[in-house]
C-alpha cells in the first residue's frame, strides 16, 4: 500500500521526524465555512505556503501538482484549480497546505530491499531535491544486515566516508528512519528532501512510503487507513463487491477497466499475466483485466461475468486459465454461462480451461451453444493457453470487420 504524503509524514512523526505546520483540505470539504476559516487562519500565520496535491507518484512539482502560494485568496483559487485536475488517472481528492520552510540544505534518504543482496539497503545523497532522479546512479549505498540492523558507529563511518557535514544530526535521524522502515513493515521509505534549516530544525520535506501488503494485518496504525478508492471506476468497485460476497475463492478483487474491446476472465496469477502478454503482443486490446481462482462459487463467477460483459461495443470474450488443481471447472463455467444466457452476446467467445470436471463443463456448454447459437470456441489442455489467445485475437478482428 502506497501512503499519501501526509499519511507518510504522520507515520514518520511517530519516529521523531518533524513535519512543517500543515492543513489538509479535502475536495469534499473545500466549501465548508470551517475549512475556509481554517485556511484563512493558516495563511495569516504563514505568509508563504506550499500547496501539495496528495496523489501517488513522482515529479509532482515538475507537473504543477506542488506549487508555492501567498495569501488566502490566491491559495483558495489554487486549491480549486488543483481539485479540478487529473494526475495521470487519479483525481485530486485532498491537498496538503504547508508552511514554506527556509531551506539551508537538502539531503536524500531512502530505504528499500536489495533483491541481489537480499538485505535492506540505505540510499543516501547530500544532493537531495527534485533532480535526484537524474543522478540516481551516484547515490551512496549501504547494505544493512536484517539481523544486526544499523549501528551508530557504522553509520558514522559511512557518512564520514562521504564527507557529510551534518553527521552528528544525521546519524540519529537515519537510525530513526530505519526503525520506522522495519517496525512499520515498509517496502520503501523515501524522504526527499530531508530539509536542514538555518535555525537547526530538520524536516521531512516529503514522504514516499510503501507498506508491505502482507504485513498490514500486524500494523495497527494502518487498520483504519482505507485504500483510496478515489481512482476506481464504477465497474472496478462493483467487481470488488462481488469478491467480498463470500469467503470462497477470489473473483474480481483485481478487476481493472482498460480501454480495449476484448473482455477478459482469467484464472491463476502467472497464467493470467502470461496470457495478457500474449494478447497484447498479438495486437489484441483488452477491455478489462480480471482474475478468479481458488474455487469461487457459481454465483460469484456469474456476477463477475455480468460486470465483465457490461461494457458496450465488445468484440470478443476470452475465458482463459491453466490446468486447475482444485477449482471446479464445471461450477465456474456454469456461472459464466448463467450470465451469457442473460446477456446473449453475438461476439465470439473463446474458452481455454482444464481441470476437475472439465469434460462435464464442456458438454454443458456445447449443449447450450447448440440450443442458443452462441459463437463459442472451446479448448482444453491439448491447446496451449497462449495459442487459444491468438485464436481470440483473430476472431475478435474478424467480428469487428463484419460489423
Amino acid at each position: 500500500m502506497k501512503l499519501q504524503e501526509y499519511k507518510g509524514k504522520e507515520l514518520l512523526q511517530q519516529y521523531g521526524f518533524e513535519k512543517p505546520d500543515a492543513l489538509l483540505v479535502t475536495k469534499k470539504n473545500l466549501d465548508d465555512p470551517a475549512t475556509l476559516l481554517a485556511l484563512h487562519a493558516f495563511c495569516s500565520k504563514h505568509p508563504q505556503v506550499m500547496v501539495k496535491a496528495q496523489v501517488i507518484g513522482g515529479q509532482r512539482k515538475k507537473q504543477g501538482f506542488v506549487q508555492e502560494s501567498k495569501g488566502c485568496d490566491a491559495t483558495l483559487s489554487l486549491l480549486q484549480q488543483l481539485f479540478s485536475k487529473m494526475y495521470q488517472t487519479q483525481s485530486v481528492l485532498s491537498i496538503l497546505v504547508e508552511e514554506k520552510i527556509a531551506i539551508a540544505h537538502e539531503y536524500f534518504l531512502a530505504l528499500l530491499y536489495d533483491t541481489r543482496l537480499k538485505t535492506p539497503m540505505l540510499l543516501f545523497s547530500s544532493k537531495g531535491g527534485i533532480d535526484i532522479e537524474s543522478h540516481r546512479e551516484e547515490l551512496a549505498r549501504y547494505p544493512i544486515s536484517p539481523i544486526d540492523g544499523l549501528s551508530e558507529e557504522s553509520l558514522r563511518s559511512f557518512l564520514h566516508g562521504l564527507h557529510v557535514q551534518d553527521a552528528a544530526v544525521l546519524v540519529p535521524l537515519l537510525l530513526s528512519a530505519y526503525q520506522c522502515f522495519t517496525l512499520a513493515d515498509c517496502l520503501h521509505l523515501e524522504i526527499n528532501p530531508l530539509i536542514k534549516t538555518n535555525n537547526g530544525v530538520w524536516y521531512a520535506g516529503d514522504a514516499k512510503i510503501t507498506i508491505d501488503d502482507a504485513a498490514i494485518p500486524r500494523q495497527p496504525f494502518l487498520q483504519h487507513v482505507q485504500e483510496e478508492a478515489s481512482f476506481l471506476t464504477p465497474r472496478e468497485i462493483a467487481a470488488r463487491q462481488v469478491d467480498a460476497l463470500d469467503y470462497r475463492g477470489v473473483a474480481g478483487r483485481t478487476f481493472m477497466d482498460l480501454p480495449g474491446t476484448i473482455a477478459i476472465l482469467a484464472s491463476g496469477g502467472g497464467a493470467s499475466l502470461t496470457c495478457m502478454d500474449a494478447l497484447m503482443r498479438a495486437g489484441g486490446k483488452p477491455a478489462n483485466y480480471t482474475e478468479y481462482s481458488g474455487n469461487p462459487s457459481r454465483e460469484k463467477v456469474r456476477k463477475l461475468t455480468e460486470i465483465t460483459l457490461s461494457k458496450p461495443d465488445l468484440t470478443g470474450c476470452l475465458v482463459i486459465g491453466g490446468t486447475a488443481n482444485f477449482t471446479d471447472v464445471y461450477e465456474t463455467l456454469a456461472g459464466f454461462m448463467d450470465a451469457v444466457l442473460v446477456i446473449k452476446p453475438s461476439y465470439p467467445i473463446v474458452i481455454r480451461r482444464a481441470g476437475p470436471r472439465d469434460a462435464e463443463a464442456f458438454a454443458m456448454i456445447r449443449s447450450l451453444v447448440d440450443e442458443h447459437h452462441f459463437n463459442v470456441t472451446l479448448f482444453g489442455e491439448e491447446t496451449p493457453m497462449t495459442k487459444a489467445v491468438l485464436v481470440m485475437v483473430k476472431k475478435a478482428e474478424e467480428y469487428y470487420a463484419s460489423l
Binding site: I56, G57, P146, T182, A214, T254, G270, L273, R281, T323
Partner: protein
C-alpha cells in the same frame, strides 16, 4: 545435494487443510515424509504419521530429517522457519504466501548463518519427476502434466511450472527436476542459487526458465551463464509486457513483479538473457520448439 527420494522430510503445518493434503500427495508420489509439526497438536497422527509440537521434538523422533516443507499461516511462518533452522534442518521449502518481506529477509540471513537453503516463500515446491516431490506441484494428478525426461524447469510462478511441463509433455519432451521459486520481493533461492544442482544433475540436458518483470534474478542468471558457471542450454520466457503497460500502480501478480526507477523491465531482461546466449520465447507456447533446437542429439 537437493532433497531427493532418500531424504527424510517433515511437514510444518501438517494438520492444516493445505498441509494435510500436500502430505497425502507427497506420500503418494513416493516422498519419505516421516512426521509433522503443528504447535498445540502434538500427539495426533495425520496420514499415519506422528505430529509434534516443535521441530526439536520431531528431530528427536527422526534424527535423519534434512528437509522441511512449510504450510503455516503467513504471520507465523517466521517463527516456524526459524525453529527449523535452529534445529539444523538444511533444506526448507516454504509454500506459505504473503510472508512479510521483513521476515523473509531475516530468515534468509539466518539460513546463511546455518548453511541452510530456503526455497520460497510462495514456492509450489520441488519435484524430481517420476520419483518424489516436496510441496504441492501437480496437485494430486502429477502424471497429467509431468513426464520423466531431460528438461529442468525453474519458475517464479507455481501455476506456470505445471503449464510449462504440460506444454513439453504434450510434445513428448519429459522433465527432470521442476522447482517453483515463488515470485516474492526477496527469494530464498534465485535461479542462480540453484543452478549448480541443475549443472550437476546428469538427467538435465536443457534448462527452462519462467521469469518475470521486477527484481534482478534474471539478470543474475545471465551473468552466471556468461561467466560459464552454467554450461547447459537455457530457454526462457519472461512475463511482464502487460503489467508494464498499465497506466496505474495496481497491485497485480506476484509481490516481486514491480518496476522501480525504470529497472527490471521484461524487455531489458530478455535482451540481457539473449546476449548471454539464452533462447527467449516471445509466446509461452514456443518453449517446446526452442527446447528441441538446443536438445543434444540422440536424447
Amino acid at each position: 545435494m537437493l532433497p531427493s527420494k532418500t531424504t527424510h522430510v517433515l511437514v510444518q503445518g501438517i494438520t492444516g487443510k493445505e498441509g494435510s493434503k500436500a502430505t497425502q500427495q507427497m506420500l503418494a508420489s513416493g516422498t519419505l515424509v516421516t512426521c509433522g509439526v503443528t504447535p498445540g497438536k502434538g500427539g495426533k497422527t495425520i496420514e499415519g504419521l506422528p505430529v509434534f509440537n516443535t521441530v526439536a521434538e520431531a528431530k528427536v523422533f527422526d534424527p535423519l530429517l534434512t528437509a522441511s516443507v512449510l504450510y503455516v499461516p503467513p504471520l507465523l511462518a517466521y517463527q516456524a522457519a526459524r525453529e527449523a533452522l535452529v534445529a539444523g534442518i538444511p533444506w526448507l521449502v516454504v509454500f506459505t504466501e504473503n510472508i512479510p518481506v521483513r521476515d523473509t529477509a531475516k530468515l534468509i540471513a539466518y539460513a546463511a548463518q546455518h548453511h541452510s537453503h530456503i526455497i520460497g516463500p510462495s514456492s509450489v515446491g520441488l519435484m524430481h519427476v517420476g520419483s518424489c516431490k516436496f510441496g504441492s506441484l501437480g496437485g494430486g494428478n502429477d502424471d497429467r502434466m509431468y513426464s520423466k525426461g531431460h528438461v529442468g524447469i525453474m519458475s517464479k510462478s507455481g501455476g506456470m511450472c505445471a503449464e510449462t511441463a504440460l506444454l513439453l509433455t504434450k510434445q513428448g519432451i519429459g522433465q527432470s527436476m521442476v522447482i517453483g521459486l515463488g515470485g516474492d520481493v526477496l527469494m530464498g533461492s534465485t535461479f542462480t542459487d540453484l543452478l549448480p544442482f541443475f549443472q550437476q544433475d546428469q538427467a538435465t540436458k536443457v534448462l527452462v526458465i519462467f521469469g518475470e518483470v521486477g527484481g534482478t534474478a534474471e539478470e543474475e542468471l545471465a551473468e552466471a551463464i556468461t561467466s560459464k558457471r552454467f554450461t547447459k542450454p537455457v530457454v526462457a520466457f519472461i512475463s511482464g509486457l502487460f503489467v508494464e503497460s498499465l497506466p496505474r500502480n495496481f497491485p497485480l501478480g506476484h509481490a516481486g513483479a514491480f518496476i522501480e526507477g525504470g529497472r527490471g523491465k521484461a524487455e531489458d531482461k530478455k535482451k540481457i538473457l539473449r546476449e548471454a546466449g539464452v533462447l527467449v520465447a516471445e509466446y509461452h507456447h514456443e518453449i517446446p520448439d526452442l527446447v528441441k533446437k538446443v536438445m543434444p542429439h540422440g536424447i
